[in-house]
């Protein structure tokens, strides 16, 4: 990749030359050049300190996710319980990060309001650019958090998919085994019935009845099992869908709230506008009457003066 040329050395040379020409003494020159090498630790406002802390925590979250990603997705490494605990930890962490970001946002709004309260005199701390910068910082933080959460969502979706896949083959497996069991039981019956034909008849009939009952119970239980498993897979799918919908609905809710705020502002503006309009109409009509009166009086005074003189 192409390198950019670092001209800081040339700049230092130029500084040295001009310092000498301006008549600076050696001590000053040394201190100036030292400032290039040793940077003073920058003083940070509480806002930026908090912002950096939040950035650090989001970075930690990312690292955590990276480390446990394999454990989470691979089927054989962890149990369900461990996966649940990971999920729980991650969501708690995300919540704290979100709270920190909200705190930062509120602090900006407070500053804005307090600066407006002083009769419009803005201090050096709270000018438009600084506020815009702080908004930018908050935006960057929230975007970062958003990307980390979407990564996590993807992992969760993979987990759901695995769960669904595990449920379906189980059903298929069960159906196959069920068929086998019914076949074997039927063949068993045929075998059993032949040698027992010469034995006592009523015993055989009773046994037959019992067998029928057991078979009926078996069929009923297996069908119950079937339906239960079907319901389980449906529940898993529903939760996945719900989760998917939830993110979209949340987005829409935010948008709707934004629209609502704008609409409220618009109605306020329209009201103010109406008031101004009515005032203008009043003034218009009053000025009209005044003008007519004035002209009237003038005409009469002219006629009077003419008649008088």
């Amino acid at each position: 990749m192409a390198k950019a040329r670092d001209r800081t050395e040339d700049f230092k040379d130029a500084v040295r030359q001009s310092a000498r020409s301006l008549g600076y003494d050696e001590a000053k020159l040394a201190s100036i050049l030292a400032s290039f090498i040793i940077h003073k630790p920058p003083q940070r406002s509480p806002f930026s300190k908090a912002a950096f802390k939040t950035l650090e925590s989001i970075g930690e979250l990312e690292l955590f996710l990276l480390r446990h990603r394999k454990d989470y997705t691979d089927l054989h490494r962890t149990t369900e319980k461990e996966r649940d605990s990971i999920e729980h930890e991650v969501s708690a962490f995300i919540k704290t990060c979100q709270e920190q970001i909200d705190v930062l946002k509120n602090s900006i709004n407070h500053e804005e309001e307090s600066s407006k309260g002083w009769l419009g005199i803005t201090t050096a701390k709270a000018n438009a650019d600084t506020i815009a910068h702080k908004h930018g910082v908050v935006l960057i933080l929230s975007e970062r958090l958003h990307s980390v959460t979407s990564q996590f969502d993807q992992l969760r979706a993979v987990r759901f998919q695995d769960a669904i896949n595990r449920a379906i083959p189980r059903r298929k497996l069960n159906r196959v085994t069920k068929k086998d069991s019914t076949e074997t039981s039927k063949s068993g019956d045929v075998e059993l019935s032949e040698p027992d034909e010469l034995r006592s008849e009523p015993l055989r009939v009773q046994q037959q009845l019992l067998d029928d009952e057991t078979r009926a119970l078996q069929v009923e239980l297996s069908s119950l099992l079937d339906t239960v498993q079907e319901t389980e897979t449906k529940m898993v799918e529903m939760s996945a869908l719900n989760h998917l919908m939830a993110t979209h609905v949340l987005q829409q809710a935010q948008q709707i709230e934004h629209l609502y705020d704008q609409a409220v502002e618009a109605t306020k503006n329209v009201e103010l506008g109406n008031k101004e309009l009515s005032q203008a109409i009043q003034r218009n009509s009053s000025s009209r009457t005044f003008l007519l009166l004035f002209l009237f009086v003038l005409t009469f005074s002219i006629i009077f003066l003419d008649w008088y003189s």
Binding site: A2, A4, T8, A14, G136
Partner: protein
């Protein structure tokens, strides 16, 4: 490895935004993660095709300002400056530093900052006692605008006008050549290659080539040079060839009407820095962006306009079909019937549908955008009957002439004044001999339509000079009069050579043919007389090792001095595709001109030579 200029420039800018430290992928937080970006107008043009505002946030930039705007202090934040090295910017930087607007300033200049300006900066910051604010100074060598992966422009205005100005002095020409050379040097430094330079003899191309060769040689000798390849002799297969041409080499391309999609959008609607604003369907201007992220633009940019309309239709139908399919699967159209066995499949379809919705909306947006552009284009084409202009000009070029009646009917028909002027100049260039009566008739027709004929007169004069100057050949190069004559002589002979090339049956541009010959390295009477420079080879050994200079190359950088346009770009890309195996060609120019802009420069040239009517009102 093919040269991707846009990628490299974006990388350099990303590194610059990261305060010129290598970007580390691990999640460690940098103490200076939030910064403010400050640029000037020229650098804004450099940045805008490459980075969007939301990408800026990914690099940690919270705010971005123009350097001339009134800015308020934002403490404890470093500021990254990306400006051109000139006096006013330096003064502004000194003012900012003295006002302590930001915690530290990281200065990045778009090209090498000259020593006197650096000293000015030092003096200024010393006197205002703010030297501790300036943290670093870098030369970025990024003074060019990259529009596509292989299209760049130096954004230097009116180059053709200044170079061909009859009243231009030696000093001014040298200045312009110097500017072009520094721009080309920036391109080569960003790509990190030292190419072999080929150029035709005489004219600005040769001057630029020699100056560039000298500059690269000097730079390679200095320590910590920017070119990463070793100093040894590298075989010619790895190095690209840089072909430098002058606009006078092939004049018609800049003037004629072309009917392909990209040149049309550029010419008619005014595409600037990949941005376009057209009248939307519901009224009001809509602004669109057309760059490499738009797949339709990439694939269909070189098609003729009617085919483009057909493509839009097919895309629209495909989109409608996809949407119908999605609706059918999820039962969105009529009432959903829930069958038990089908439920799982149904939910899966639903999930797929929800996931594919964003992609579908994006496709629809692209189709809408191009439908809008095509509609506006169609309106313009119908109004100015641009299709007949394009066809007739093509015929003229191929046949070498045109029926007089047809010519006059076109000049009296539809089209703006600029269109008619362009058509008349194309007629002039395409006809081999000048028939004075016809030319008189053409001029009369132009004057009827109130067209300012200065440009026409200029081209006529150049062409007539050819007849008298055909024998004159330049003797020495130092004398300015001889140089001016040589310039004219070269331009005329180049124009006639270009015309002869065009008279052949296949309609390939002369530029494309020459570049093909230069890349393939086969002996060719035209290109054998071209000069060749190799900045890496030692100055003395030119004869023995010249074979590698003409050998086949895998990549080429074509540079046009004086202005280029999308027609050349499209034909060069076609050439690159048709080669066996496919080669890679970068195209660059001093500025991208539409036909109208170029005619304006010719008009000014004509006026400076004292031609043109005094009676007609200026355009």
């Amino acid at each position: 490895m093919s040269l991707n200029l846009r990628h490299k420039q974006t990388e350099c800018i990303a590194r610059m935004l990261n305060l010129n430290q290598p970007i580390n992928v691990t999640g460690t937080t940098n103490e200076e993660a939030y910064k403010i970006l400050i640029y000037d107008k020229f650098c804004q043009n450099i940045l805008s095709p490459l980075i969007h505002v939301k990408d800026l946030r990914k690099h940690g930039v919270t705010l971005y300002f123009l350097i001339d705007k009134d800015r308020k202090p934002v403490h404890d934040v470093p500021a990254v400056y990306f400006v051109q090295p000139n006096q006013s910017n330096v003064q502004r930087i000194i003012a900012d530093a003295s006002r302590s607007l930001y915690q530290t300033l990281h200065l990045n200049f778009s090209t090498s900052i000259p020593r006197p300006l650096l000293e000015d900066l030092a003096t200024g910051t010393l006197t205002s006692d703010s030297i501790h604010r300036i943290s670093k100074v870098h030369d970025q060598y990024l003074e060019f605008v990259t529009l596509e992966d292989n299209l760049f422009s130096l954004a230097q205005k009116s180059c053709f006008l200044q170079l061909n100005d009859p009243s231009a002095g030696d000093r001014e020409i040298e200045d312009i050549v110097e500017k072009i050379v520094s721009g080309l040097f920036c391109v080569l430094a960003t790509l990190g290659v030292v190419p072999v330079i080929r150029c035709p003899r005489g004219g600005p191309a040769e001057m630029v080539a020699t100056a560039l060769d000298q500059r690269i040689r000097d730079h390679l000798l200095s320590k910590n040079n920017l070119f990463t390849e070793g100093g040894n002799f590298v075989s010619s297969f790895q190095r690209p060839v840089l072909c430098i041409f002058d606009r006078n080499f092939e004049l018609p391309v800049a003037i004629q009407h072309d009917f392909r999609y990209r040149p049309l959008v550029h010419d008619v609607l005014g595409l600037k820095l990949n941005r376009l604003s057209v009248q939307g369907e519901k009224g009001g201007m809509r602004s669109y962006e057309l760059d490499s992220s738009d797949s339709f633009w990439l694939t269909n940019g070189a098609l003729e306009f009617p085919e483009v309309a057909v493509e839009i239709e097919t895309q629209l139908n495909k989109y409608k079909k996809d949407v119908d399919e999605v609706n059918k699967r999820t039962g969105g159209t009529h009432g959903a019937e829930f069958e038990g066995t089908d439920l799982i499949g149904n939910t899966k379809h639903l999930m797929n549908a929800v996931n594919s919705l964003p992609e579908l909306t994006e496709r629809k947006q692209v189709i809408d955008k191009h439908t809008n552009i095509a509609t506006v284009l169609l309106g313009e084409i119908k109004e100015r009957s641009l299709d007949s202009y394009a066809k007739k000009e093509n015929d003229m070029m191929v046949r070498g002439g045109i029926e007089r009646s047809e010519l006059l009917s076109v000049l009296r028909g539809k089209g703006t004044k600029m269109d008619k002027l362009r058509f008349a100049i194309m007629y002039l260039i395409s006809s081999e001999t000048i028939n004075p009566t016809e030319v008189e008739a053409v001029e009369a027709a132009l004057r009827e339509s109130e067209v300012d004929t200065a440009a026409f007169q200029y081209v006529k004069k150049i062409k007539s000079l050819n007849v008298s100057l055909a024998s004159a050949n330049s003797a020495s190069r130092s004398n300015i009069v001889d140089w001016a004559e040589k310039l004219y002589g070269q331009s005329i002979s180049a124009v006639t050579a270009g015309v002869k090339n065009l008279l052949s049956s296949d309609r390939q541009l002369a530029l494309a043919r020459t570049v093909e010959a230069l890349i393939e390295g086969r002996p060719n009477p035209e290109t054998d007389i071209y000069l060749a420079f190799d900045p890496r080879a030692p100055k003395s050994g030119s004869g023995a090792s010249s074979s590698h200079l003409k050998g086949p190359f895998k990549e080429a950088i074509v540079f046009m001095i004086g202005g280029g346009n999308y027609v050349e770009y499209c034909s060069l890309q076609e050439l690159a595709q048709n080669q066996q195996p496919a080669k890679h060609i970068l195209y660059g120019t001093t500025e991208l001109l539409t036909g109208g802009d170029f005619i304006e420069q010719l008009t000014l040239l004509g006026k400076k030579m004292g031609l043109g009517n005094a009676s007609t009102p200026p355009q």
